[in-house]
Amino acid sequence: MPSVHLEASTQLVLLEELGSVESSAADRLLGNLFVSPSSARWRDTTRWVSDADRPRLPNLDAVASAASTAMERYASGDDLAFDEVYDALAPRLYAFVLRRTQGNRARSEDLVQQTFLQMHHARGRFTPGADVVPWAYSIARRLLIDSVRRGTREVIVEDAVFDREVAPLDAADDLIVAKEMAILVEAELARMPPAQREAFDLVKSEGMSMAEAAEVLGTTVTAVKLRAHRAYEAIRAVLGGAAPKAPSASRARAQAAALADADEPGDDDDAKAGAR
């Protein structure tokens, strides 16, 4: 049964973004977990989600700068510079691929390995001054799409992910509310067009600029802005609308699975495959 999980980074983004929803139903849904976006508890909680639970990843700008400089040296003939390219990019790239393979470590390692080999083989064609990060992500995304098309996709239902991410919360009620909110968002992400989901993910979860996300997706900055905005609005709407009577976890999970199974007309195959 296909399913998806909401990664910690997306939860963080949503928790942060919800701060801008004024007296909405989404605020009521959050209840006493997040009393006020500016409260100490809010900040503490977001800090917990971001610092304690998320893998420690280097800042994207630092990664981009280090990787681009090293790749330029590698393209110019410095054979040892590729080690630095790997060191700068691998942690973020691995995390990116790992989420898309639903936590399949072996497959993620293979895909990351192939990504770096593709970069190695493009050594002589590296454009001076080009940004390595969008390029690396676009290669990883393409390899992932190809592997999905080859039918190597392995579906893993990871209920444990939620438990791991939310477990340290004090109150059981808070845990349930957070789970239900995550499931709602998960369902909405699964339901939205893959192109929107990818744009949202690259911009919000990966922290890319609109221009970088546009490069990865092979489209224009305007298109990425539009897709990310629509995705964001959809998530905000579903959280706000569902807040007064949030469904039970099991019902929402079933709904998420059903929605993930549903066809998504109007989107190209690449986007569908890449979003899985």
Partner: protein, 227 residues
């Protein structure tokens, strides 16, 4: 860095050392050699079929047709082959636009330049000339297409089919330069059948080769091994 990333690091770097690849200076030399081979082949072909066939076309018309086709070829090559300052390449809309617009652009330029001239009004050439020009245009396109596609082999992770089609359009535009020199007929029907239809064919061929060669699968290297 985690232990698994360290392990992966050693595997990746071992593969990199096992399959050395040329750096930028060597690739530039290869590209120049490829360009030289292409130019020699095109010149040889041009000489082989008798060089300039002016017919009753004035020199300014021949020069005008060839120059406009060359401008179209330069622009399409810059857009299709060049990647700007990005390694990913130009947006999908740009490369699709190049592939879709090169034939209308050439047709419009031919119609505007040749209208009212004797070459335009002399009527259709014998049917055999359509086939001859069709074959020549295809022949003039093939080597530039091979050069462009091989130079971009395994380099497009986003939209290789569209990029391949744009490279095909670019190669076709270069063939149009040669055809402006060797074909004395400018009648629209002949241009469509003999000169522009094969460019559409080359665009399709470019799309096909783009998918298989310009895409990531086109890079010639062995599959990575897990140790």
């Amino acid at each position: 860095m985690s232990a698994e990333l360290q392990d992966l690091r050693s595997r990746v770097l071992a593969e990199v050392r096992r399959q050395p690849t040329p750096a930028r200076p060597a690739m530039r030399r290869r590209l120049l050699v490829g360009l030289a081979i292409t130019l020699v082949f095109e010149a040889f072909l041009l000489v082989l079929i008798g060089g300039l066939h002016a017919g009753d076309r004035p020199v300014w018309l021949i020069a005008g047709n060839a120059s406009v086709a060359m401008v179209v070829a330069l622009i399409t090559t810059w857009l299709a082959f060049g990647r700007g300052r990005s390694m990913v390449g130009r947006p999908r809309a740009v490369v699709i636009g190049v592939a879709a617009l090169v034939v209308p652009a050439l047709l419009a330029s031919i119609a505007l330049l040749n209208e009212g001239t004797s070459a335009f009004e002399r009527g259709l050439p014998p049917p055999g000339n359509h086939a001859q020009c069709f074959g020549l245009t295809a022949l003039f396109s093939l080597v530039p297409l091979a050069l462009l596609v091989l130079a971009r082999r395994g380099s497009d992770p986003v939209h290789p089919t569209a990029t391949g089609a744009a490279l095909g359009a670019s190669a076709g535009a270069w063939a149009a330069v040669a055809m402006a020199i060797v074909c004395p007929y400018s009648e629209i029907g002949h241009e469509l059948i003999g000169h522009l239809a094969p460019i559409l064919l080359i665009v399709l061929l470019g799309a096909w080769t783009g998918r298989s060669i310009v895409g990531l699968g086109g890079a010639r290297h062995s599959r990575p091994r897990r140790t």
